[in-house]
Each structure stands twice: as C-alpha cells, then as structure tokens.
C-alpha cells in the first residue's frame, strides 16, 4: 500500500485518516521514542559500571533518567506499538468497511496526541519513577508537565481503544465470524476494553497528584490522609496496563508461530478464553505490588490468590504455542526466531513473577532488582520481541520489499543474548539484595552490575543491525508477489475486503478513498494550549505549591495560552459548523438504525471514572473522624436550585431531540438554546458557590483550613463534574451553531442524539453527587 511518498509529504502525514498510514506513523514515532528511551537505558547502565559517579552527578539526575526511561518505554513505545499494529492490521483482519477504522478522524486525533505526549514527557525531566508515588511526586519539580504528558498519552490510547472496539464490533464485515478472526483482533479487543476500564482511573490518580501539588488539596498527605491510597488507584490502572501491553503481543505471536510452523494455531478457542480470563482477572490483582506496604492481611491474601489464578491462562497460552510448533514444521526465519524468544522470555518473566507473588519471598525481593528483572523479561524481552517478530513478518506487506535477513538475524542474536545476560544478572542481583533505583551500590555487587551493563550494550548494538536491515530492505528490489514472501505455503490471508465482496455480490463498484483532515490534527494540537496554560499557572516560580489558586490573575503566560485556545475554539466552531454534514458526521448510512455504541462505550469509561472519584472520596470520608455536617458548611437549598436547573435542562434536551425527530426545526433550536442557557446558569451558580466558599467559611484549601480533607474531596468531585458540564455546554453550543446553519434534519441528527446522551449522563452524575456530597 505504501507508495513511499507518504513520509515526504507533511500535509499527508498530518492529515491522513487512513488507518494503515496512521499505523506507519505509530511505528515511526515508537521507533524514535525507542531510541530516546534506549539511550537513557544505556546511560543508566553506564552509570552503574562502577559504584562511583560516572555520568550522572547527582542521585536526582539518575532518578530523572530511570523515570524517563520507564515512562517512555511503557507509554511511548510499547503501548503505541500495539496501537500501530492495531491500526495497520485490524481493519484488514475484520474486513472493515473502507478498510479503515470506525472513526477515521478521531483516529488521526488519537495518533497526534502521542507525539504531543512524548514531547511533554521527554522535557518534563521528572525524578519520581514511572510509578510517581507520593510524597516524592508531590515535592519534586517537573511532575506537572510529566502528568500532562501522561494524560495526553492516556487520552490517545483511550480514543484509540474506543475506535478499535467499534471497528471490531460494528465495522467488521458480516462474513467475518467471531471465532475465525485472527487472534490479534481478539488481543486488541480485550486490550481496548482494559484501556477503557482502567485509563480513567489513572487520570483520576494523576489529577489528584496535580491538585495536591498545586491547589493544596491533601489527598495523599502523610499527616492528614493516606499516601498509600495513591498506590491502590495507580496500580488499579497499571497492573491492567501490563496486560494492555502484552495481550496484543499474544495475538501477534500466535499468528507468527502458526505461520512459521506451517500449521494452524493449536487450541484457538482456549486462546480466546485465556485472553478473556486474563482481561477480566487483571482488574483484581493490583495489590500484589503492595505486599510490603503493611497492607491489610485480608486484602493481601485475596490478591495473592487472584494473582496465582491469573498465571494459569498465561500458562495455557504457552502450552498452546508449544503444541502448535510440535504439530508443525518449523521454518527459522527472523520473525520465528523472535517468536521463539518471546516464548522463552515470557516464561522466564512469568515464573519470576510467580516467585514474587509468594508473599514470604516478596517481603525480601520487593524493590530489588529481582522485580526489575521480572518485568524486563516480560516487557522488554517479551512484549517488545513480539513486536519485532511481527514487524519483520509484516515488513514485506508494508513495504513491498524484503528486509535483510542476515542483519535481522544479527539483530535477533544480539538482542536475545543481551536480554538474557542483562535480565538474568538482574535476577541474581535481586536475590543478593541489590535494591532498585539506586545510582551507587556496595562493591560486592559490581561484577553482576558490569555483566548487566555488557548485556545492555549488546541490546543497543542490536538496534543498529535492525536499522541496517530495514535500510537495506528499503533499498532492495520490489518483491514480485506478496502472496507468500516467506515461502511458507500460505500468505497473510486476510478475509476478502468488503469492497470486493460488494462488487462480487452486488456488482457495485465502490471507490476506497481516505480523505485528509487538517482540523483533526489541529484539534489535537490545540488541546496543548489549555495545558500549557495550566503549566504556566502551576509550575515553579510564584505558582508553586498552593499558590495556583491566587495566581490565575497573575500569570501572563497562562492567560495568553488560555486566550489563544479560546480564539482557536471560536475559529474551529465557525469553520466546522458550516462544513457539509457528511464531512463531520462519523455515523453514516451504513450504520444507521443501530445503537450508538460509540457514545455508550465512552459513557462506560465515564462511569468507572466517576466511580473512582466518588468512591475514593467516600472511602476518605468513612475513614475520617472529624467530618463537618454538610448543612453547616454548604448551602443545601442553593445547590438544590442548581440541581433543579440541571434537571430542567435534561428535560429541555430530551424535548429538543424529540422535536428534531419530528422535523420541527424551530422548536428543536429553541429547546436546544434553553438547554445551553440552563447549563450556563448551572456553571455560573457553581462559580459563585466556589467564590463564596473560598472567601469565608470552612470549605477552603487554605493552609489553615478547618476541614482540609472534606474540602479536597468536595472540590474534586464537584470540580470534575463542573468540567463535564463545561464540555457539554461547548458541544451543545457547537450543535446549536450547526443547527442554525441548517445542519440537521429529521433524518440526520445523530450528533444531537449523541450530545443529548452525554448531557443526560452528566445530569445523572450530578443527581448522585448532590446526594453524596451535599445531603449525607
């Protein structure tokens, strides 16, 4: 497909909505990020050659290095690689219509958030470890920027995940049956569910850190609250995140192994069930990262049991791969070598994982190099290796050419050897008691540290071979046929493309065409502005901890960014609202009449977000001795009126939608306007409430606040909800503008329906919040 010109045209790279091209952009971005994060790894290993400082002058510089290395590898390399393969392969594997993702434009937005995230994360230079535990993450510089980067990365993968679910669920051609899909499609589907369920919780945790840093909330305060709270919320996301990384790899590797064993995957349905089991169980094992925190023994037993259980499906998969190879005739080309390495390394990682799940052992091994070895076996030696395997396997299809086999094999041997040397050295160091995250160590550890460093350099060298292999491949002759480039007796065999099917069955010729969209990337980039504004308000200087509240009027830079964003928004509204409806509306005739899963999937992730925010707040409340009576500190009648306003707005919204369905455009617009006005009334009411509370009374975040915890959760819950109302009002305003330009009709009002559902949902959340925050 790739005509080679793609990477020469910035306009096409920016504006493409073609999933295959976006897949290539993901690969390119991930590769660049791999080089950066890899360089950090080599710096770390160089530093550890001797106990004395070599490269880093201070422990803090060293902390920056491993933070950036870890965050980068996870969020900017491995997760994006999964999305890259997903973009490239999934639409083809499910014969999605137009060979594209369900929402091509959002797909573009999701991709462009990734380079943005990368820049924020690389430049943040935060010294807190990828886990960002408080109190350290509340005290150190750079963290705000790091968080902004992670929020971008998380949003990118959430949008991507919703898009994958929709593509597989709704975009799948009718003749592609569930149990005949490539296992990679299943892997992507389950990963996407995990992203949708878990990422909002990470966002909640990070925002709480941000608030603790800048707005004087006390969620993780050592003296007033419970810093361990963060670990629960963080790992609730981050344990599933390790499976988010590995599930697509499972899928990819299954195909490579079957192909190069020249047979079918053994135990297809058990593979699917195992992945489903892993996905479901993975939200109930997170506290195995917290065994040594003095955790409640009851909780600890639960988690160690669940973690043992989740190892079973992983084991099933390994046996299935072995059986597949046993039943087949193996051909050892580079992809297969990498696939074999995956099995070995993943098993090493799994077994070392089971060791640390034995509580008695983990009490010794936690926070040592054993753990570092464990997850490097799984992520670096496992998941990344699976990506390499597939990259080589699909290389001919992507480029029409063959990579250089000799160099690829050198890449393999250096990588595999380096992995093995380094990570085994890590396990040994761990057993001997070397703690992780130190830039110096007692003499007796030096030998194994040096072995680990040698292994790391082998890995670094292997990437050079990879680059040469790709380079030579790109310069080589085009292959004559892509039917079976590896001479395995079968090729990539995707299901018949949908357009071909239509032509064959119905004789209609459909042109596959992917439009460029400049507004999509522009939208992604514009979101940088409010965050830059936020950073200007918060980072360092006069906006240091606790001062952000006062500094809104004081920060010139921050205000400029916000104004720029508003200007952009106005421009965008003006422009897009007059665009042809077909341009804007992602839901076309093909899907009409079906339920709008796009908004429902999104709402599901909102439900878990608010469950986390409200639930954590309640848990804080239940554990507090002193809690104000809300009738004394808040004005219940005032808020009851605001509640009433929101309820009316739901009524007007529903009425408005009913009118457009009946074709009564005037009433439709009138009630839409009512809804917007009511939304604005609510927001204004909330701002007034905040202003009054901040001025006097007990619900403040001042240093000497009477009820710091109550105030923290009050602003967290109502603030997040207010933000949702604000977003809702903006979207409603957009729909209203369009409506005035005649953009909707009796038959074409899907957007109105979607925004309506969102609006009612925000109302629903408020109904719950009103009770739990104000009434009880």
């Amino acid at each position: 497909m790739n005509d080679g010109n793609f990477f020469r045209s910035p306009k096409r790279m920016l504006g493409t909505t073609n999933a295959a091209e976006l897949g290539l952009l993901y690969f390119a971005t991930a590769f660049i990020n791999l080089l950066i994060a890899g360089t950090y790894a080599l710096l770390i290993r160089t530093e550890l050659w001797t106990p004395d400082p070599i490269y880093f002058d201070t422990a803090k510089d060293y902390n920056v290095a491993f933070t950036i290395h870890g965050t980068g590898m996870i969020f900017l390399v491995v997760v994006p690689l999964g999305a890259g393969f997903g973009n490239y392969l999934v639409p083809k594997m499910v014969a999605a219509d137009n060979n594209d993702m369900y929402w091509p434009k959002w797909n573009n937005v999701a991709f462009w958030m990734l380079p943005i995230a990368s820049v924020f994360i690389w430049f943040s230079q935060a010294p807190i470890g990828w886990t960002a535990y408080p109190p350290l993450s509340i005290l150190m510089p750079g963290v705000d920027m790091w968080i902004v980067g992670l929020v971008f990365a998380g949003t990118s993968s959430s949008i991507g995940a919703i898009n994958f679910v929709l593509t597989i669920w709704k975009g799948r051609a009718p003749y592609v049956k569930w149990m005949s899909m490539d296992l990679f499609v299943w892997g992507t589907l389950f990963t996407s569910f995990l992203v949708i369920i878990a990422t909002p919780v990470l966002t909640a945790a990070l925002v709480m850190i941000l608030l603790d840093r800048n707005f004087n909330t006390v969620f993780f305060s050592e003296s007033l609250s419970n810093p361990i709270l963060y670990q629960h919320v963080f790992w609730f996301y981050s344990h599933p995140a390790v499976y988010i990384m590995v599930l697509p790899a499972f899928g990819l590797i299954s195909t490579v192994i079957a192909k190069f064993s020249r047979t079918q995957v053994f135990g297809y349905s058990s593979m699917v069930i195992a992945m489903a089991g892993i996905a479901i169980l993975s939200v109930s094992v997170w506290a195995h990262h917290m065994y040594t925190t003095g955790i409640d023994p009851f909780v600890r037993i639960f988690f160690t049991s669940m973690t043992f259980v989740i190892a079973i499906p992983s084991g099933i998969k390994v046996f299935n791969w072995l059986t597949t190879m046993y039943a087949g005739r193996i051909k050892l080309r580079a992809p297969m070598l990498f696939a074999l390495a995956f099995i070995v390394m993943f098993t090493m990682g799994g077994i070392t994982g089971v060791y640390i799940n034995i509580i008695a052992l983990d009490l010794n091994l936690h926070d040592t190099y054993w753990v570092v070895g464990h997850f490097h076996f799984i992520v670096a030696a496992g998941t990344l290796v699976a990506m390499f395997a597939s990259f080589y396997y699909y290389f001919p299809e992507i480029t029409g050419k063959m990579y250089d086999e000799k160099m690829a094999k050198l890449h393999f041997w250096f990588w595999f050897g380096g992995n093995f040397i380094t990570f085994v050295a890590f396990q040994v160091l761990g057993m001997e008691g070397m703690p992780r995250r130190y830039y110096t160590y007692p003499e007796e550890f030096q030998l194994w540290h040096q072995i680990a460093t040698i292994g790391a350099y082998l890995m670094g060298i292997s990437i050079i071979f990879m680059a040469i292999s790709i380079h030579r491949g790109l310069k080589s002759e085009k292959l004559e046929s892509l039917d079976d480039p590896f001479e395995l007796g079968s090729g990539y065999d995707y299901p018949e493309p949908f357009a071909d099917y239509i032509k064959r069955e119905h004789g209609e010729d459909l042109v596959i065409e992917h439009k460029l969209s400049i507004w999509a990337p522009a939208g992604a980039f514009s979101l940088v502005l409010p965050f830059l504004g936020l950073l200007a308000f918060t980072e360092g200087g006069p906006f240091a901890r606790g001062k952000a509240l006062e500094s809104f009027s004081g920060s010139l830079g921050g205000n400029i960014f916000i104004v720029l964003f508003l200007v952009y928004l106005g421009f965008f509204f003006q422009k897009e609202s007059s665009a042809h409806i077909g341009e804007l509306n992602p839901v076309d005739k093909y899907r009409e009449g079906e339920r709008h899963w796009e908004i429902w999937v999104f709402l599901a992730s909102e439900v878990i977000f608010f469950t986390a925010v409200i639930g954590v707040s309640q848990a804080i409340k239940w554990n507090s001795l002193t809690w104000p009576d809300t009738n004394d500190v808040l004005s219940v009648p005032y808020t009851a009126v605001l509640t009433f306003v929101l309820i009316i707005s739901s009524f007007t919204m529903a009425t408005s939608l009913e009118h457009v369905k009946n074709g009564d455009m005037e009433k439709f617009k009138k009630y839409l306007l009512f809804t917007i006005i009511l939304g604005l009334v609510f927001l204004t009411g909330q701002i007034i409430e905040y202003a009054q509370l901040a001025g006097e009374g007990d619900v403040t975040l001042a240093d000497n606040a009477t009820y710091p915890l109550f105030s923290s959760i009050f602003y967290l819950q109502t603030g997040f909800h207010g933000l949702h109302v604000l977003v809702g009002v903006l979207f409603l305003g957009f729909v209203y503008l369009r409506a005035r330009k005649g953009g909707y009709s009796k038959d074409n009002h899907t957007y109105v329906e979607l925004i309506g559902l969102y609006w009612h949902f925000v109302d629903l959340v408020w109904i719950i919040l009103f009770t739990v925050v104000y009434l009880i």
Binding site: N98, E508, K515, E594, W600, T655, D763, I767, F770, I776
Partner: protein
C-alpha cells in the same frame, strides 16, 4: 469522512446488518412522558432536601440513597432512552453495572486497607 462505500450500501437493503428497532408506539406521547419524568424528578428532589434536614441517622441515609438511585434510574431509563432500547439489560449491564462493579473492587480495597484514621 468517506461515504463512498456506505452510500452504496444503503441501497442494498441492509440484509446483512441487523437493525435495532426502537419501540415506535411510544413516539407520540414522548413529550408527555418527559414532562411526567421531570415532575417526578422535581418532587423527589424536594423530598430529598426536606429529608436531609431530619436528624442524621442510618434510615435517613438509606432513604436519600434510594431516592438518588431512583432519580438516576429515571434519567437513564427515560431521558437516555434505555427503556426504549431493544435490549435495555445489555446497555445497563455493559455501561453501568460492569464498570461500577470493577470500580467497586477498587473502592472496597481502598476503604478496607486504610492506614490509621484520616485527620480533620
């Protein structure tokens, strides 16, 4: 967005895509239903505010929670049209129950594993 394939598809009778039918009988008196729902929500809100002035106690909390859930359910069922969906249980389960359950595992453990007593 590209419609080239889809515009062709719509003429093909859509025989390969199952359509979800929305119960059309209710179409005509929807406005009335919305109005009644709105009234019910308003009344429940008034009751809530009144109840919150009762002396604190477990039963007041329970009443308030039940009212909140009832209101939320009304909004979901009527305004969000879940009630009129072909498979309301599927929507309720996948959009509300499962995420709530997953989140509750987290909340239960956060509560259970609280260290010490949170200060004022």
């Amino acid at each position: 967005m590209d419609n080239s394939i889809h515009s062709g598809l719509s003429d093909l009778g859509g025989n390969y895509m199952s359509k979800i039918e929305i119960n059309e009988d209710t179409e005509h008196n929807m406005f009335g239903i919305y109005k009644n729902t709105f009234l019910a929500l308003t009344i429940m809100t008034i009751v809530e505010v009144a109840a919150s002035y009762l002396p604190d106690g477990a039963y007041v909390t329970v009443i308030l929670l039940l009212l909140a859930v009832a209101k939320a359910a009304l909004v979901g069922a009527v305004f969000m049209h879940i009630k009129y969906d072909k498979t309301p249980w599927l929507l309720t389960l996948s959009v509300f129950v499962v995420p709530l359950a997953a989140g509750s595992i987290l909340i239960f453990n956060v509560w259970k594993d609280w260290r010490g007593v949170a200060g004022a």
